[in-house]
């Protein structure tokens, strides 16, 4: 039941991507597509979705990279600071994650306009970093805390610098935590729509979700092309979920109850 409810609607939708124009709007609906790739062809040629895809890859990739870098530093500090400080720090960071985007979007938009960053990649990536940092810091701080501080102490005695100890001792041991934080950050940045819609109005710089939401045909809704674009956007995510579900689940519950 749960599986059917989860998957059937989506299969019905993406199967339209492999149909022909008459099959998409046919009544009764054709359940089995003819595996035609026409819609993919027209989505790529007519609607240039590969450009949107590239923008999404750049934005989500850069966000993941910057967020992970900052969250590693901050998470490590919070894991090693005295508990009362760390408690306060994590609470403040959690509070940052709860704000509605609408409460920040006006000033953020004005700020980006002021410095001329509307319609740029960095203008979208930096707000994404701010919005994904809380969960990433949280996951990593809980992970680093499980690694005994004696390991670094030993490295320091052996002549390692503080940063050297973090990079050579802690990071290799934390690969699973880093990986979880990276997946969740990437999924967030890949799927985000509200800020992307406001900050980037130039179609050449827009990301996939904006492209899919604003898809317009000349006369009718181009369902086949929308389904094709949706398929291309979603396929990497579904692959990630199926491969890494265990890591994702640990990461998501880290915020709620220590997993």
């Amino acid at each position: 039941m749960a599986v059917a409810f989860s998957l059937v609607p989506f299969f019905l939708f993406v199967s339209s991507a492999f149909k022909t124009q008459t099959q998409v709007t046919a009544i009764p609906p054709t359940l089995w597509p003819s595996f035609s790739l026409d819609f993919f062809h027209s989505a790529i040629v007519q609607y240039r979705i590969l450009g949107y895809l590239l923008n999404s890859v750049i934005v989500a990739g850069a966000t993941t990279f910057v967020t992970l870098f900052l969250a590693t530093l901050a998470g490590y500090a919070l894991a090693r600071l005295p508990r009362s400080w760390a408690y306060f720090g994590l609470l403040v960071i959690l509070a940052c994650a709860m704000f509605p985007q609408i409460a920040i979007v006006g000033p953020v938009w004005r700020f980006l306009r002021l410095i001329g960053w509307l319609n740029t990649y960095q203008g979208l990536v930096l707000p994404y970093v701010a919005l994904t940092l809380p969960l990433a810091v949280w996951i990593l701080a809980l992970f680093f805390r499980e690694i005994p501080a004696e390991l670094e102490a030993a490295a320091l005695v052996d002549g390692c610098s503080r940063i050297g100890a973090l990079v050579r001792i802690i990071l290799p041991l934390s690969a699973p935590g880093l990986f979880t934080a990276a997946i969740l950050t990437f999924i967030y940045a890949w799927n985000e729509f509200f800020l992307a819609l406001l900050i980037i109005t130039d179609p050449l710089r827009q990301t996939m979700p904006v492209g899919i939401a604003l898809f317009q045909g000349e006369h009718t809704v181009p369902w086949g092309e929308i389904a094709a674009a949706s398929f291309i956007t979603t396929a990497p995510l579904v692959a990630m979920v199926l491969l890494f579900q265990r890591r994702i689940i640990t990461g998501l519950s880290a915020g709620a109850i220590k997993g």
Binding site: A86, G89, P100, P107, I187
Partner: protein, 295 residues
């Protein structure tokens, strides 16, 4: 701890603090300031005068805003209730060991990973009034019976609620599952030996022990549901007759479509205050001790 150590850790924290200050804390403070001004994008000659609480007075008399609040309230309460309830059932199911549990977990996670925009387009397609599969499933070839789901106020809100429940029930289930997994099996064993049936085991062991996890799931889902935007934007644009004009969409329209930056900021401060109050209530209910234990 040595003094130099403390400096080192603060230096590591500094970039994160800076990003959060510039892109979250300062914007929120500025939203409050903007909400006391009349700012209309595109009319800079007005020079953005300070008008005190005029925006808020207007907000109180704005019937569209009141309606929008009501719609959001219905959306938030129905979706969070359904998601946490179904999530609990799903979590109880997944918590049992059985062959294929891993793939079941992965399957229910798929809707969560799908971009909201994609799932919105998907439901718009399935609920289509002339060739949507939902009409066909319900009415077959009786085309005259077909319902224009997205064009009627009552059903339009329902479709958005359904789309949200479809997408995030699995997330609620995961949070609850994390709570279920820390309950030791011995408790159930002992109760079974004492002759407690399945309902009494749930009532006296599971329920009290997962209450914190349930509350946390409620907290996260409530706060997130208040931010609903993508579904309404793609599926209905807030219509028909403002039936799905949720608060974030209304604020967006005021600020970025009509250019009323000051008035829009008053709306966003309102949303912010509602969420703040809810968060405080929930944190009180969960209890400081539970939070601290998990930090």
């Amino acid at each position: 701890m040595i003094h130099a150590d403390r400096k080192f850790y603060l230096a590591l924290l500094a970039p994160t603090i800076l990003v959060l200050l510039v892109f979250i804390a300062a914007p929120i403070a500025q939203s409050v300031v903007l909400s006391f001004h009349r700012i209309i994008v595109g009319l800079p000659q007005l020079q953005n005068p300070f008008i005190g609480i005029e925006n808020y007075q207007e907000l109180l008399h704005d019937s569209v805003a009141r309606h929008s609040f009501l719609v959001t309230f219905v959306f938030v309460s129905v979706t969070t209730f359904c998601e946490v309830f179904l999530g609990l059932l799903l979590a109880l199911l997944i918590n049992h060991r059985f062959p294929g549990r891993g793939s079941l977990r992965a399957c229910v996670l798929v809707p969560w990973a799908i971009p909201t925009v994609v799932s919105a387009q998907m439901w718009r397609f399935l609920f289509n009034d002339s060739y949507g599969l939902i009409n066909y499933t319900l009415f077959g070839n009786e085309v005259s019976q077909y319902v224009a789901w997205l064009a009627k106020p009552g059903t339009a809100l329902f479709t958005i609620i359904l789309a949200d429940v479809w997408k995030t029930t699995s997330f609620a289930a995961l949070l609850i599952l994390a709570g279920l997994q820390i309950i030791p099996d011995e408790l159930y064993e002992a109760a079974r030996v004492d002759g407690a049936g399945i309902w009494r085991r749930f009532r006296h062991i599971t329920w009290p022990l997962i209450r914190p996890a349930l509350l946390i799931a409620l907290l996260f889902r409530t706060i997130d549901a208040f931010r609903v935007f993508d579904l309404a934007f793609v599926m209905t644009q807030g219509g028909p007759a403002d039936a799905t004009n949720v608060l974030q969409l209304y604020g967006y329209k005021k600020m970025f479509v009509e250019g009323w930056m000051g008035y829009g900021s008053a709306i966003s401060v309102g949303v912010f205050i509602i969420i703040l109050i809810l968060a405080v209530i929930y944190v009180r209910m969960v209890g400081r001790r539970v939070l601290e234990a998990n930090l």
